[in-house]
Amino acid sequence: MIARYLTRTQGNQGPALADVLTYAYLAFGTLIMFGPIVWLLFSSFKTESALDRFPNRLLPYSQVMVQVEGRDEPLPLYEVIMEDGTVKQLVQFGRPMGNQARMIDPSNPEAFIDVDIDRRRPINEVSFAWRNYTEPLTQFNFLRYFSNSLFVTIVATFITLTINSMAAFALSKYRFPGRDVIFIIIIATLMIPISVILVPAFLVITELNMNNSLWGVIIPGAATPTGVFLLRQYMLTIPDELIDSARIDGATEWRIYWQIILPLARPALAVLAIFSVMWRWNDFLWPLIVLSENEVFTLQIGLNSFRGQHDTQWHYILAMTVLTLLPITVVFAFLQRFITTGIATTGMK
């Protein structure tokens, strides 16, 4: 049955059961893929005590606090079943002594009422603990990390697109001695990630005095073999006649590059730009090694070190996690169709 169901292809009209299973799968998939993120979002607005509450609730509840005349601090509100069976809303004053809690009626703040703690129930309301976001911002220097990440992402993508497209242009549209050797070397390193050459790459960075500099994060990954390969394959499809006729009209090679090749290679450039942004924004291992001063941390490194310092303070960690995933989510929301079709058509990462 499963085999039969899965093998149904687009356009067949089949039994309704297949459709039910399809939507069941999609609904379950949505729950698994999206659920954790929604849960994170709601949890990030919970107070520390609400987070400790077990079992948990989805929405961020917290106890209603009431300002009572004659008291400086707002006091927690409870629903209390009185001796005579009536139900009253009282606030609690101080901590319960034994199994007796000292309560105050907000309308009559002078009189204390002692109540058995089993007879009261906290009144909760949905409220968003914005403090989770505002308080840690002094240690989690979001704006600084954000601007570092933004700088790295934009500059690196720009450099990557420029030098990769120049190299791809030369490799696809010229015949010159050494061309094939260069191309083979680039292909051979297509899958060698920076994690394999961590130690010597770090040495090169140290020698060039690029430790703790954003340029040390940006430059090494700029000459991506992936990008050169992707752009070269695309540029091969641009007809040579265009270049020849431009040369006859007296255009320089540089002009041919930026006025003919670049505009025609736009779809491939867009795909590479998307990849580059994703790589750079989420990059972790290399920045972790190059950057050791808080001032130059990118968002990912900042979040990681913040996690290290506040290992148990989940209400802060969750809020900062939400802040970190926010920018890329916004970008995705706007360019969703473009990104998914772009990646599907090249199949590269």
Binding site: Y25, L40, V199, L318, T329, T345
Partner: protein, 352 residues
């Protein structure tokens, strides 16, 4: 990547007008003005160069910037890596290091019995290798199967296809740190999953401190985070299969299973190979999510190759660069074999 996968006709199916639609015209005109001025400024440099060296040699001018970065930050380190692997000591500058021959490799491979990490001098390395093999096997299998199922389902006639495609893709965008933190929060002793277990009357489980559970969740989370990407590639592969084939099959009375077995699967094979190889290469390098999720624990149950290299070379109190480099040579050779395999398979597909 096989050349065939890059058919230009497929790249062109990217909606070209999307960009202009999402950007106000004034901004784009402003940007292209700037672009023009910058490019014209560069003409002042490249024009004279071309007059001196001639058109033919301009090719070198175009490759040089990329090649320079590539040589300094990729090629040179690759060569240096071998030097490190054959030298000892804790100093980073090559001149300060003493040649030790194959000592680092001997240390890594010094084992009573390769199948039992306990008998090895560098037992963590061997544990990392076995953990990585375990991880790669389950992660790649699980991911390919699940992405295929998801792609087949998304390829059906369904409502809100764009929405569901985005839902499955969205986690791909999240950074490994964010992914690790989200799941640590869910799998925590007091987390949502344990709350659900208690709801069903089951004892809570400390997922991340029990060896088998920790390994399972590492595989699960990494599939969760990457599946959408491979689903998209497979979906594109499915949509490239001509519909006429299915129609012809229907006329001949082919049932659904046969249509899948004899039309979909064979025609999807090239795409499947790309997906499998890409997934393999990424799985071998697993690091950052695990680093946040379990930190390699409990014990070293989820410590993988890259973490071993990172910790040996950078995180420990003594930085044993030589040993780390030797381990990366081993990892590099593994990846090289996988890459060659991909190129070979790609060639073969192209030939047929």
């Amino acid at each position: 990547m096989a050349q065939a996968e890059f058919g230009h006709d497929r790249i062109e199916s990217t909606p070209p007008d999307e960009q202009q639609n999402t950007r106000p015209n004034a901004v784009s005109r402003f940007l292209s003005k700037i672009f023009e001025h910058v490019m014209n400024a560069f003409e002042l440099i490249f024009g004279p160069i071309q007059r001196v060296i001639g058109i033919r040699n301009m090719a070198y001018v175009f490759v040089v910037p990329n090649l320079l970065v590539f040589a300094v930050f990729v090629l040179l380190p690759m060569i240096l890596n071998f030097y490190y692997a054959f030298t000892g000591g804790t100093r980073i500058f090559p001149a300060d290091r003493t040649f030790v021959g194959t000592e680092n490799f001997e240390l890594l491979f010094d084992c009573g019995n390769y199948l039992q990490p306990n008998t090895c001098t560098e037992d963590i390395f061997w544990r990392a290798i076995y953990n990585t093999i375990f991880f790669v096997t389950f992660q790649v299998t699980g991911m390919v199967v699940l992405s295929l199922i998801t792609a087949l389902i998304l390829n059906r006639k369904i409502k809100w296809r764009g929405f569901f495609r985005s839902v499955f893709f969205y986690p791909v965008l999240l950074s490994p740190i964010v992914v690790g933190l989200i799941w640590r929060w869910l799998l925590d002793r007091d987390g949502l999953l344990n709350a659900a277990l208690i709801g069903f009357g089951v004892e809570p489980i400390t997922f991340l401190s029990e060896v088998n559970w920790a390994r399972f969740w590492i595989v699960f989370v990494s599939i969760w985070a990457q599946m959408g990407f491979y689903t998209l590639i497979l979906l594109a592969g499915l949509q490239a299969i001509p519909k006429e084939l299915y129609e012809a099959g229907e006329i001949d009375g082919t049932n659904n299973w046969h249509a899948f077995r004899f039309i979909t699967l064979p025609l999807l094979m090239p795409t499947m190979f790309v997906v499998i190889i890409l997934a393999l290469i990424r799985a071998v390098q697993v690091f950052d999510q695990v680093f946040v999720l379990t930190g390699g624990g409990p014990g070293s149950a989820t410590r993988y190759m890259v973490q071993y290299i990172y910790e040996t070379g950078f995180a420990g109190s003594t930085r044993i660069f030589g040993l780390a480099a030797a381990a990366s040579v081993v990892l590099g050779i593994t990846l090289f074999i996988l890459t060659m395999l991909q190129l070979y398979v790609g060639r073969r597909n192209e030939a047929t």
